[in-house]
């Protein structure tokens, strides 16, 4: 009889995982979750949190993390055993929808100004971004979409005058009729 494990943890491939964590919205709960990640050396790519069910004092935290499958399973188990945590769901394992909101400020100066302004607007239209602020030499776009789209949009804008970005990090939800 041979054990099913022979490859040490280190040789495993690093994966990305989206976790939904339902917690009691009590003071300090976010510090607890963030502290777990820093204390045990886990990665956080993004973390979003907001109260979702006010009467029940429930908050929903979406964490995007990365690690080897062993580490990711360990993260889930560590989250799950915390006293204020109701549930931990691995959304990547299910069909799910992930969205992020970005506010992107571009400003145009210099000789290519009007050409850049046109291009910025064309790209915004192509990505379905809303123009939420404009001056004679700047725009602020609001883009909601998968993290990849946001990433591409920001990269394109870099070439035509990106000056500032604010991103929310991912919010995610499972597809279909069933709740988590």
């Amino acid at each position: 009889m041979k054990s099913h494990y022979s490859d040490p943890t280190t040789s495993q491939i690093v994966e990305r995982r989206v976790l939904c964590v339902l917690v009691d919205n009590e003071p300090g709960v976010l510090a607890r979750i963030a502290g777990l990640f820093s204390g045990r050396g886990y990665n956080i790519e993004s973390l979003t949190v907001s109260e979702t069910e006010h009467e029940k004092h429930l908050s929903r935290i979406t964490i995007v993390t990365s690690g080897t499958p062993n580490v990711l399973n360990q993260i889930e188990a560590q989250l799950d055993r915390m006293v204020p945590v109701h549930r931990v769901v691995n959304l990547a394992a299910k069909a799910s929808i992930e969205r992020e909101l970005a506010l992107v400020k571009v400003s145009q100066n210099g000789p290519d100004r009007s050409e850049h302004r046109m291009e910025a607007l064309r790209l915004a239209t192509a990505f379905g971004a809303k123009t939420v602020d404009a001056t004679l030499n700047s725009f602020i776009f609001e883009l909601a979409g998968p993290a990849d789209d946001v990433e591409r949009f920001i990269n394109l804008m870099t070439a035509i005058g990106l000056v500032e970005v604010s991103r929310t990090g991912a919010a995610a939800i499972g597809r279909g009729a069933e709740p988590m």
Binding site: H4, Y5, D24, Q74, V83
Partner: protein, 586 residues
């Protein structure tokens, strides 16, 4: 029945309702209302320690020897920060504690007030859970919940930080009800199909070993009883971690001794060579596994643990079962009997033959001496002279701790108390005080090192005040022996700062603490001296002068596998054993 009372009174009433008889604490400005409430009643006895770290270790000793929740009460700021080491110790060794800390009044929180510290922030990482009470309405629920969280699931320490204005405020007290927590629901029943699969694997095993840990002790005496029964039914060998000693009787022929870094040759080789490992309430700690990629390479592994995060954390197992050890063992025993399983007798005989060959190496052997007390000999004699008594042993941390684990034998659970996970020097004396408080008539011995004992020596005053006849048995080698041993192993014998210089005269110190002092350096006089210690009706400090440069063997050097142990008959230079990579490990 609800009643109106102050927050401080609620604390005391909740303690009564939680059936708490003893608490360990130290007063200060931010807990005065609670001390006042304690003053006005008689059912909860407060034991005044001499340092808050001592309070927490005492509560740990009390809890681990009695199976109850240990309770601590300290003031804000330095009171709370002094408790941190003890809380961390309890977290790593899964000891149920509730620690009340005073806090500055709510309107001053965040203002850097006198003796303010962010207690919930500081203790978040060293507690199972903690609470800051901001409203008097929440206080009774939080206290009862804290007791529930501390003792259920994988036990651990819980802190309740209570601002002083909340202690004065009045509100409605609620007695403990049925605890159904909103989010915290530890699983205690193991999955039955998995248990069945585990038992089927055991019935087919040819080279099995039970690897047991502190989880059996935490699951209560019934778990130890079931382990004995199951071991008898199967005939399998049993080894245990440092934390699990006593769950299985050391006088059983199936007992292999402790495993791990300073475990026996037979226990470690059985772990290395087994085809089925049955881990019951242990956590594959690095002191146990040694080099991970060479850990028990040919075995299938079953792991029973109440904490799901322990399963597959360090070692990937073939079958994990989340549940309380007592409940899972009861199921295992039932299924084994019901299915009329029989162990693989022929194969087991061969396995025991191998084990007995390893036993023949006598890995706990040592060179005896007529002139000087060998530390192992001192423990052997201490065991022989106390084994027929109602004895509890605590330890400090170092070589003496490992010698105690190797040479003092435990046949019952809850009799052995040591700081395993954190390795806290200074644990033993306050823990012994806690044990003695829970077991007035028992013989309680702290097996100590001369360096460790100085870390919480002040607690001798506590022992004197409460007439707790604890015996401090110091293996005095004039070295931080374990540090010295590692310096010999790793750093060419350059004993940097590990010599115990300017030691106090422990006999005089005993006198100063209203205790009895004994010194012994002669092996021929040791038995009489130990008897004198046992017979003395009060606390004793026994300064046992032992061989100074003895190494604690056997040993799995860091970075090595179980089958690469250094045995006592090793002839080479131990400084040559560990390679550069191993030297980086702890």
């Amino acid at each position: 029945m609800s009643e109106t009372m102050t927050g401080a009174e609620m604390v005391v009433r909740a303690l009564q309702d939680q059936d708490v008889q003893h608490i360990f604490g130290y007063p200060g400005g931010a807990v005065l209302p609670i001390y006042d409430a304690l003053f006005q009643q008689n059912s909860v006895e407060h034991i005044l320690v001499r340092h808050e770290q001592g309070a927490v270790h005492s509560a740990e000793g009390y809890a681990r020897s009695s199976g109850k929740v240990g309770v601590v009460l300290v003031t804000s700021g330095p009171g709370a920060t002094n408790a941190v080491t003890g809380l961390t110790d309890a977290l790593l060794d899964s000891i149920p504690l509730v620690c009340f800390t005073g806090q500055v009044p709510t309107h001053l929180i965040g203002s850097d007030a006198f003796q303010e510290c962010d207690t919930v922030g500081i203790t978040r990482h060293c507690t199972k859970h903690n609470y800051l009470v901001k409203r008097i309405e929440d206080l009774p629920r939080i206290i009862h919940e804290a007791f529930y969280v501390a003792r259920s699931g994988r036990p651990g320490p819980v802190v309740i930080d209570i601002p002083k204005d909340i202690q004065f405020a009045s509100g409605t007290y609620l007695p403990p009800g049925d605890m159904i927590h909103k989010s915290y629901r530890p699983r205690t029943e193991g999955d039955s199909s998995r248990i069945e699969a585990a038992v089927a694997m055991m019935a087919k095993a040819k080279r099995p070993v039970f690897y047991t840990g502190g989880g059996i002790i935490n699951a209560g005496p019934e778990a130890s009883r079931l382990l004995r029964e199951f071991a008898k039914l199967t005939g399998f060998p049993v080894t245990s971690t440092l934390m699990g000693l006593g769950a299985f009787p050391a006088n059983s022929p199936q007992w292999l001794g402790m495993l791990g870094m300073h475990g026996t040759y037979e226990a470690n080789l059985a772990m290395h060579g087994c085809d089925l490992m049955i881990n019951l309430g242990a956590r594959f700690d690095d002191r146990i596994t040694g080099r991970l990629d060479a850990f028990s390479p040919d075995s299938r592994k079953i792991h029973v643990d109440i904490d799901p995060s322990s399963i597959n954390k360090n070692v990937k197992v073939d079958l994990g079962i989340v549940g309380d050890c007592a409940k899972v063992l009861a199921e295992m025993v039932r299924i084994w009997k019901e299915k009329k399983y029989q162990p693989e007798a022929e194969a087991l005989k061969g396995w025991w033959g191998e084990i007995n060959k390893w036993r023949g190496r006598n890995s706990l052997g040592y060179a005896r001496s007529k002139d000087i007390i060998k530390p192992q000999y001192a423990i052997e004699r201490l065991y022989e002279l106390t084994k027929d008594r109602n004895t509890y042993v605590t330890t400090e941390v170092g070589q003496h701790q490992m010698w105690a684990a190797q040479h003092f034998h435990f046949n019952e659970p809850n009799r052995w108390l040591t700081s395993g996970g954190l390795g806290t020097m200074g644990y033993g004396l306050p823990a012994a005080i806690g044990v003695q408080k829970a077991h007035r008539d028992a013989l309680v011995i702290d097996i100590a090192g001369e360096a460790s004992i100085l870390m919480n020596m002040q607690e001798m005053s506590t022992a004197a005040q409460y007439r707790l006849p604890v015996k401090v048995f110091i293996l005095n080698n004039e070295y931080m022996g374990m540090v010295r041993q590692w310096q010999e192993l790793l750093h060419g014998g350059r004993y940097s700062e590990s010599y115990s210089q300017a030691l106090p005269d422990f006999v005089k110190l005993a006198d100063a603490y209203h205790a009895h002092g004994i010194r012994c350096a002669d092996p021929a006089k040791l038995d009489d001296a130990i008897r004198e210690m046992i017979d003395y009706p009060g606390p004793v400090i026994f300064d046992c002068l032992v061989a100074k440069e003895e190494n604690c063997l056997p040993m799995i050097p860091s970075g090595k596998a179980h089958n690469e142990m250094i045995l006592p008959d090793f002839a080479g230079e131990i400084g040559d054993v560990i390679d550069a990579k191993g030297k980086q490990l702890v």
